[in-house]
């Protein structure tokens, strides 16, 4: 049947859509880094780009910032998640925290970063609430909190955003590791909750969330939008500097950017090696601790610490978004006042025309990328189902690959390549670039519920005379409406949050809510930033509400479809 041949070709097509741009981008990075950039009048091999990169005085510090912030943010997020789950999994407090953190997963990084900045800046909400009563300040102190040279705010912003991500990944992994019964055994052997969980469940859970942890590490080391908003400025992190070079009118600087991109790639690979060594060391220490048989004396403190850290990270995000909203509707808001003196919609009416355009581009790109991703992923899963071949470990690595390479390593090259072959920048290439990042998340989100479907329903339908396509359309997809819509919402949220692909591949002609919001970062117009941050968050969250409501309405008379 020709149509079955179609299904069989989908996995290859998906790999092409996902890895094609990555490989092309890497190729497009290597050439200019070695001195070949015809657009700038340079051909042939030369070491000049790397020489210029090494001449940049900020380089050593930028390298340390990239490594330090990425490793610290990953380690802290993972630690917080481990302590929360170890101390509280299965308790009412845990369910409350889980409910608070789950929607925060889809908040775009830029909005979260702005929210945090609005909270912790010297003139931020926290300072306003405690002033002048506790501090005696009647004007903001002259402190560099946001954009601090150590990257601490950057680390905090990354941690607040990655804790929900790793927590949900951990919960998914827990379902497969028999954690509850293991914990019961450990308790019967005299272990406290936290120590017992860390020794007997965490190693198994970690093995399952390893790839997401790598994603967090790579992202933290190379993120651009969060680093522009919260990160140090003189010098900035390496990734931010690469983007500055890319956007410089002097085309020759693109070769420096390409050299920087390769260095960024090497740094990330080096950090992954370092992490791997850390895993080995942690495993050794863990085994030694198991052998000692200590039952855990610090459990109560660890439990309290985990809950506190989790609550602070959830509250910071929620309060940050509230601060964004408050600024967007604030009239005059003098410094030590905890709340604005007056409220008005002026910011929104002023921003409305530009925001409408940005929203249209955001929606177009997000919907197109998500629709393509859904078709490809459904095709892959259906091919997997019909051929009976499950996804291998290597296949999983391939799906994660676009997330395991720093965006700054291949997107600049992709832009250079597109310009070099005369391809137009604009919406279509942006959609293709978004697809690279939307695909893995849609796949990961839909894969488990798709495979968990009871195939006997399909066998019954086939026995009643339905062919594979009819089974797919009339049985499987309707039954799996909720996970399919959730996967679509995940895809849209990922696309809405993308900054670098839109900026670089769009060539400045595609303006989404995210690129507009980040562009406002240097201006300091808090009201406009607030409005764009809120709009961005809403654009990412709304699809989840739809995914929640639609199945409930469609299947309102079908109790068996509400898990």
């Amino acid at each position: 049947m020709p149509r079955d041949g179609l299904v069989r070709s989908v996995p290859a097509l998906t790999l092409l859509a996902m890895l094609g741009p990555v490989l092309a981008g890497l190729w497009g990075t290597v050439l200019p880094a070695l001195g070949h950039l015809p657009a700038a009048g340079e051909t042939g091999l030369s070491g000049a780009p790397f020489a210029r990169l090494l001449d940049w005085p900020g380089l050593p510090r930028a390298i340390w910032l990239s490594l330090g912030t990425g490793l610290a943010a990953t380690l802290i997020s993972l630690g917080i998640v481990a302590l929360i789950v170890a101390g509280w999994w299965g308790t009412p407090a845990f369910r409350a925290l889980e409910r608070a953190l789950s929607p925060l997963l889809s908040v775009p990084h830029a909005a979260a970063a702005f929210g945090l900045a609005f909270l912790i800046a010297p003139s931020g909400w926290i300072a306003r609430v405690v002033s002048p009563a506790l501090t005696g300040w009647d004007r903001p102190p002259d402190w560099l909190i946001v954009n601090d040279p150590w990257g601490l705010s950057l680390i905090a912003g990354l941690v607040a955003k990655e804790v929900p991500f790793l927590l949900l990944m951990t919960l998914a992994a827990l379902g497969q590791s028999d954690g509850a019964r293991s914990l019961r055994v450990a308790q019967a052997l005299g272990y406290g909750r936290v120590t017992g969980w860390l020794k007997c469940v965490f190693p198994r859970v970690y093995a399952q969330i390893r790839l997401p942890v790598f994603v967090v590490l790579v992202f933290g080391m190379s993120v651009v939008d969060v680093a522009v908003i919260l990160g140090p400025t003189t010098p900035a992190t390496l990734s931010v500097q690469i983007v500055r070079w890319m956007n410089d009118p002097d085309l020759a600087l693109r070769m420096t950017a390409a050299a920087g991109a390769l260095l960024q790639l090497a740094l990330v690979l080096g950090a992954l090696c370092l992490w791997w060594l850390g895993e080995r060391a942690a495993a050794r220490l863990g085994r030694a601790a198991v052998l000692r048989g200590g039952r855990g004396w610090a459990d109560p403190a660890l439990r309290a610490g985990g809950l506190l850290a989790g609550a602070v990270s959830a509250l910071a995000m929620l309060a940050g978004i509230a601060a964004l909203f408050l600024w967007s509707v604030a009239g005059f808001w003098g410094f030590p006042d905890a709340l604005p003196e007056a409220y008005s919609l002026r910011t929104w009416t002023r921003a409305a025309p530009g925001m409408a355009d940005a929203l249209a581009d955001t929606a177009l790109v997000a919907l197109a990328a998500t629709a393509l991703a859904l078709m490809l992923v459904l095709g892959c899963l259906e091919a997997e189902h019909r051929s009976g071949r499950a996804l291998t470990r290597r296949g999983l690595w391939l799906i994660y690959l676009p997330l395991l390479l720093p965006q700054t390593a291949f997107l600049p090259g992709l832009q250079t390549l597109l310009l070099g072959i005369g391809a137009d920048t604009g919406r279509a290439p942006v959609i293709a670039a978004h697809l690279v990042f939307v695909l893995p998340y849609v796949f990961l989100s839909l894969g488990d519920p798709w495979r968990a479907w009871d195939v006997r329903h399909g066998r019954i339908a086939a026995a009643l005379g339905a062919g594979p396509w009819r089974v797919l359309w009339t049985v499987r997809l309707p039954m799996l409406l909720r996970p399919v819509l959730t996967a679509a919402a995940v895809g849209i949220a990922v696309s809405v949050g993308q900054y670098l692909p839109t900026l670089l591949i769009g060539g400045g002609r595609v303006a989404t809510l995210t690129t507009e919001a980040v562009a406002l970062a240097s201006g300091g117009d808090r009201r406009a930033i607030g409005a764009y941050g809120v709009a961005q968050t809403a654009a990412a969250l709304l699809p989840f509400a739809v995914a929640l409501v639609v199945p409930t309405l469609v299947w309102r008379n079908r109790r068996g479809l509400h898990g």
Partner: protein, 210 residues
């Protein structure tokens, strides 16, 4: 209060509805068998004694262990050992590490390693320390799980269908091993089962639920 495990007017409710009630004393070295069909609350009874009742369940009455009231004690401080039908060996640790996990803390590293080796001898598995638990047979796994629990020096032993996963020959061996060890260590044993042979082999009082 006397030594042994005493369930004083223990009554478990689920969302307010009575589920199971028991009022018994088990002397050191003795076995009490609780029988009944599935769903009657046998495992819930054990969860009340280990202190790991699921939300929605409530236990009334008191639980005494060797003269101590453990009704409100956190699970990990109760010194109540339990064996399930599945061995639940930790798959990321080797056999020796599984035993070390159970062995009470204290002692030098060589001292602990030699105690683990002695424990492996005792269950007829000398030299099995570095093995992956997944490569063991069902009977070997059950013996390691038993020894891991005994090394934690519990004051009582609960058996939750502990022999249910084994075939007839192994079952008999394993029962003998468990009951002998419990008698040697003068542990009160509470066994939950639906198998009449288990009950007969235990030789103690039998309570039927449901």
């Amino acid at each position: 209060m006397a030594d042994g495990l005493i369930l004083e007017a223990l009554r478990i409710t689920r969302h307010g509805a009575p589920l199971v009630a028991l009022d018994r004393a088990i002397a050191p070295g003795e076995v009490l068998t609780v029988m009944g069909p599935s769903g009657v609350g046998k495992s819930t009874l054990l969860a009340a004694i280990t202190g790991t009742l699921a939300p929605g369940f409530r236990a009334e009455g008191r639980i005494w262990l060797d003269g101590q009231d453990i009704t409100r004690t956190p699970p990990h401080l109760r010194r109540v050992g339990i064996l399930f039908q599945d061995d639940l060996l930790f798959p990321h640790l080797n056999v020796a590490e599984n035993l070390a996990f159970g062995l009470r803390p204290g002692g030098t590293r060589p001292d602990r390693l030699s105690r683990i080796e002695a424990a492996l001898d005792e269950i007829g598995l000398p030299g099995y320390g570095p093995r992956d638990p997944a490569t063991l047979s069902g009977g070997q796994k059950a013996r390691v799980a038993l020894m891991r629990m005994l090394l934690s020096e519990p004051c009582t032993l609960l058996l939750d269908e502990a022999f249910g996963g084994l075939d007839a020959a192994l079952r008999q061996q394993m029962r003998a091993l468990v009951f002998d060890r419990a008698r040697d260590r003068r542990l009160p044993v509470l066994m939950v089962t639906h198998d009449a042979e288990d009950a007969a082999a235990a030789g103690g009082e039998i309570v039927r639920l449901g």
